[in-house]
């Protein structure tokens, strides 16, 4: 019935000439909205290219990407340290966040009693609503001291003594380092991964789950053999989304990463990411080459995000095709 009625409306719209005008406005508005995004993207690329042309001309592409020098005084700039920092913090954050987020999602959908599901779900969504600067301030004033006083010395005293791992735990634990920054990033991206994973877990048909339980599967077996395979795609999407968020996150890590342009080998070393460098140095960049190099960094991040998102999209599509078959 209802389908018929909607069809009737649509059909009459298409036919009646009186209604054509509003329809046209509606269509063009949506088209304008969509195309404006493309225009903005192109505009941003043009500006990034134009502003960074000085630095591109001076340092080239390969040299800029591989040089570890970042010295505003002598005017020599390279992106290797910040690219490295961006990748390391993002990878570590994902390493911390994915298992936790999956745990949350499994608990909320499969294990928790009903009265707990609501509060935990709301808590996760609230976590996603906190502005990143708040995470930054919290990280600086609360997390960093805790890390430097308790967690990092404990790690150093245990893992720091193992033969190969010791490299990762060298140096004085200051709380202003890769580890603290990654932990904050992880806390920030957990809500994204967790809520998307939860939603995709919920999509698992309960008939399948119930049949698994009926043949005597335990909760762990149901999650491992039924729920996870069913929702792989959604989980992957959530991870890709959090990856994008972690790559571009600025304020949360700007306070606790130290903005140190070095290739850090220890988790207790200060480092820098592209966005942190931009946030820290943009306002007081006083020479043209300096400013241009910062734009160049932004361009590098732009390309990096684009490539990473393209890769994850590619995998998503591949998985989707496999599943639809």
């Amino acid at each position: 019935m209802s389908i018929l009625r909607t069809c009737g409306k649509v059909c009459s719209l298409a036919i009646s000439p009186k209604r054509k005008f509003p329809e046209l406005i509606f269509l063009s508005l949506t088209a304008i909205a969509s195309f404006s995004v493309i225009f903005f993207i192109i505009g941003i690329i043009i500006v990034l290219f134009k502003e960074s042309s000085l630095a591109i001309g001076k340092f080239g592409i390969v040299d800029f990407l591989t040089s570890t020098v970042w010295n505003p005084v002598t005017g020599v700039f390279g992106a290797a340290t910040t690219i490295y920092g961006t990748f390391v913090t993002t990878a570590l954050a994902l390493l911390f966040a994915i298992p936790t987020a999956l745990g949350i999602a499994i608990f909320v959908t499969e294990i928790a009693p009903n009265f707990l599901k609501g509060p935990i779900g709301i808590a996760i969504e609230l976590l996603a609503a906190i502005p990143s600067i708040i995470y930054g301030m919290w990280g600086l004033f609360t997390l960093a001291p805790i890390m430097s006083r308790y967690i990092e010395p404990a790690l150093q005293n245990t893992f720091g003594k193992l033969p190969f791992l010791s490299v990762l735990f060298k140096g004085t634990p200051m709380g202003v380092d890769l580890l603290t920054a990654s932990v904050i990033l992880a806390i920030m991206i957990i809500p994204f991964t967790a809520s998307i994973a939860r939603d995709s877990f919920n999509l698992t048909p309960s008939v399948v789950k119930e049949s698994a339980y009926a043949i005597g599967a335990t909760q762990w077996e149901v999650v491992k053999n039924v729920v996870l395979p069913y929702s792989k795609l959604g989980v992957f999407g959530g991870v890709a989304l959090s990856l994008g968020r972690a790559l571009g996150e600025t304020m949360a890590v700007a306070f606790v990463l130290g903005n140190n342009h070095k290739i850090a080998t220890s988790l207790f070393d200060a480092a820098s990411t592209i966005t942190v460098t931009l946030a820290n140095e943009f306002t007081e960049a006083d020479s043209d080459l300096y400013l241009s190099s910062l734009y160049y960094l932004a361009l590098v991040l732009f390309v990096m995000s684009f490539v990473i998102l393209a890769i994850s999209k590619f995998f998503l599509l591949k998985a989707e095709r496999k599943y639809s078959r």
Binding site: T172, V176, N259, H261, F282, E284, D286
Partner: protein, 348 residues
Amino acid sequence: MPSEKRRGGNIYMKQILTIAILLIGTMLINHAQAEDMLNGAGATFPYPIYSAWANEYNKVTGVKLNYQSIGSGGGIKQITERTVDFGASDKPLTSEELAKGNLLQFPAVIGGVVPVVNVAGIKAGELRLDSETVCKIYLEEIKKWSDPTIKALNPKLKLPDSDITVVHRSDGSGTTAIFTDYLSGVCPAWKEKVGTGTSVSWPTGIGGKGNEGVANYVQQQANSIGYVEFAYAKQNNLAYTLLKNHEGEFVEPTFESFADAAASANFDPKRDFYLWLNDAPGKKSWPIAGATFILLAKEKKDSNMKVVKFYDWAFKNGDTKAKELIYVPLPNVLKAKIEGYWKSNGIQ
């Protein structure tokens, strides 16, 4: 039903119209006021005092001053492109740079930089340091508080045998520029290895974002040393050090020692006041300081006169307010020089 809906739509339309008319109205009013409006942009450091002065100036004269603290680099850029009435920079420009952009320059207020420490048992104003020691600490040549050079300066203090944690700014800032210029001036090794800049390639230490970041690390980390703006050290009761100045005297960072540095320093109107206040002569002068500057477009006489009128008023009436916000007002000698500069450029 449909007629009711249409009526609802009309009410909606009316609301939109009213809002639009109101908006256009306010825009027109704003436009009318624009004549009494001065626009400035630049350094973040003097923002609180400029806006406090602007507020009082507005009450007295009705002239509005809109100052955007976008950073010194941005301030120089905006005035060069003539998008504002005046720019502000923590970094002085040389006469050659000014000539290139057809600009004028004068100092407005003094900012000082103060080393602060966190060593058990040492209170504010107890630890004595000299330029060489500060430089060596930041170059990581002096690694422990018990180092003989520090001990020689402080024979009476009990210094721990522990590593020094060096804290510096992680963001680009005028404070860093003043501090690194001081080190470059007094310490050839620093000039050669690091140099002067709003952000530099630090040989050692951890970076804190903003004065609050550095202060926070120094307070959290035992046996650390950092540098912050004078106002920040004073407001947060940080343990500042004494420094040996150009004349070899140990001085405390106070309004007077900064003002003395500014008074005895050789600000030269002929060179558009280009000067870093570091290592200034004078027995009571604090050695790490810098003025923050105002930049004007030379050809825009009318707006320049308005800006000058504002700063003239501020120089005459704003010292108490400046001290309240812990800025060091310019000494009278310097104010007189600036007035001469204004007159010779025909903007007062």
